[in-house]
């Protein structure tokens, strides 16, 4: 009887890649940084008799809510880009990543405009614990968004050159994970600082 030779099963890749593991370590460290800052904010917020103090301006809630929608919506195109590259459809990847970077830049621009207005109204880093905690906490997040937008721009440039394929797209995946983290972090910070 003739036996067909069955090839052995392919060698399994590790369940969690090294790049993904490195990203988890980075995000865990970043989360602890923000946990410390949130702890600082809680001390100032809960120990204050009046928040915000009577002589200082209130934070612009309407515009920031719209800005929050923009930031959270920016996670959709990057998720689509990741899905497309996993299916091997690399045509729309660069465009989707560029769209995410543009939405992130819009978020930063609106934040910058808000801050300029607040500074003009007298809310500065030296305006007691209210101003200091607001600028440190939200400013730290804005720096992370800036870093992520820069990263997205580089990834979009590389995607335009056709660097990423179905088998090789770890950089795009790591960038997407970092962007999810930045968006998720804002989903915690916005209610804490603007609504509570």
């Amino acid at each position: 009887m003739r036996r067909r030779v069955v090839p052995p099963p392919p060698a399994e890749a590790p369940p969690v890649s090294n790049t993904r593991l490195a990203m988890i370590v980075l995000i865990t460290g970043e989360s602890m940084l923000f946990a410390g800052l949130i702890g600082m904010y809680l001390v100032f917020r809960l120990s204050a008799r009046a928040w915000p103090p009577a002589d200082l301006p209130r934070l612009p809630l309407g515009l920031t809510t719209l800005n929050t929608v923009v930031l959270l919506a920016s996670a959709v195109p990057v998720a689509r880009a990741l899905g497309a590259i996993r299916r091997g459809e690399s045509g729309s990847v660069a465009r989707q990543v560029e769209l995410t970077a543009v939405l992130g830049a819009v978020f930063l621009a609106v934040q910058g405009a808000e801050w300029t207005r607040l500074v003009r109204h007298g809310l500065t880093l030296g305006s007691g614990t209210y101003g200091a905690s607001f600028y440190v906490l939200i400013g730290c997040h804005a720096l992370h968004v800036l870093a992520a937008v820069t990263w997205l721009s580089i990834v979009a440039l590389l995607a335009r050159r056709g660097v990423y394929t179905r088998a090789r797209h770890a950089a795009l995946e790591m960038c997407a994970i970092y962007w999810y983290f930045v968006c998720g972090l804002w989903a915690v910070l916005f209610p804490l600082v603007y609504l509570y």
Binding site: R3, V6, P9, E12, M32, G36, R45, L46, A48
Partner: protein
């Protein structure tokens, strides 16, 4: 008749209730440095509780996810291995599958 389980639960609840005030202070410093209803004490308590919970929550979430991913990969590998073993055995032999 006294139910020992229910009695134990009630006793545990009484002990926890009696200790809630001490537990809520988070640390001896907060308990002794501020007044009874001082907002600063409350603020420090919540902040300490939050910062105490954060690393455990993060570590637990990451460890749980890694455990889940490894377990799922192990199951998948064993299924592939089993399919390969069966495919190697000719159909005529007992327990064999046609290739």
């Amino acid at each position: 008749m006294i139910d020992p389980k229910r009695t134990g639960l009630v006793l545990a609840l009484v002990v926890v209730w009696a200790a809630t005030r001490a537990l809520a202070q988070s640390c001896a410093m907060c308990g002794s440095s501020f007044g009874v209803d001082d907002p600063v004490q409350r603020a420090f308590s919540w902040s300490i509780l939050f910062l105490m919970a954060a690393p455990y929550t993060l570590f637990g979430a990451v460890a749980g996810w890694l455990f889940y991913v490894h377990r799922r990969a192990g199951r998948r590998a064993s299924v592939v291995e089993l399919a390969w073993r069966r495919a190697r055995v000719p159909a005529a032999e007992p327990g064999g599958q046609p290739t």
